[in-house]
Symmetry: C2
Subunit: 111 residues, 2 copies
């Protein structure tokens, strides 16, 4: 017997999916590293775990939307990711798509 909480949790997972692309790209307008993202996004109410963030960053880099540089100047080496020109273009597109969707969904919910 499926418990309601389980179903709810799964809905939340699905809702968060895709949003991660959007918020990570957005955050990488400033050079950022994975662990920082995990912390910042949790504070911002969009908790993404490391096992989600690290593969995501690599995917985005593979797609040419981010680029990365290791900073080894401190004791804790950090891999900084930063958005590319291509990434910026895509970010603008999906931000626009996102806002349109939000409006559409809100009007469905209110109807």
């Amino acid at each position: 017997m499926n418990e309601l909480n389980e179903i709810y949790a799964n809905f939340v997972v699905e809702l968060r999916r895709g949003v991660s692309n959007l918020v990570v790209l957005s955050q990488c307008q400033q050079p950022t590293y994975g662990y920082q993202l995990v912390k910042n996004l949790a504070e911002s109410g969009i908790p993404l775990e490391g096992n989600t963030v690290y593969p995501l960053l690599r995917r985005l880099e593979d797609q040419g939307l981010l680029r990365s540089d290791w900073d080894t100047s401190t004791d804790k080496p950090r891999k900084y990711y930063q958005i590319t020109e291509t990434g910026s273009q895509l970010l603008a597109q999906i931000t626009s798509y996102w806002r349109d969707s939000v409006k559409n969904i809100e009007s469905i919910l209110e109807a």
Copy 2:
């Protein structure tokens, strides 16, 4: 070029994911059938195709969030889905979650 469009399309797919649960549950506050959902949602700017909607309706029914009745009184038999009490509770929860998320994401995008 084509590559970017593909990436964009995939982002859109991921963003739409989960939203389908929300809008379908919401629409089923009035008894509705699959084909009508496909048409209505397309008009509302949330295009979901039959191969997405029909399995989704069945899942929601399996989870006890919707129930269905065949209407065979007309020449075209239609399977009407309607939200259950449990479904209504969950809809309220995920609607609330959705609106909170939207606020959080918007504030990340603006930062």
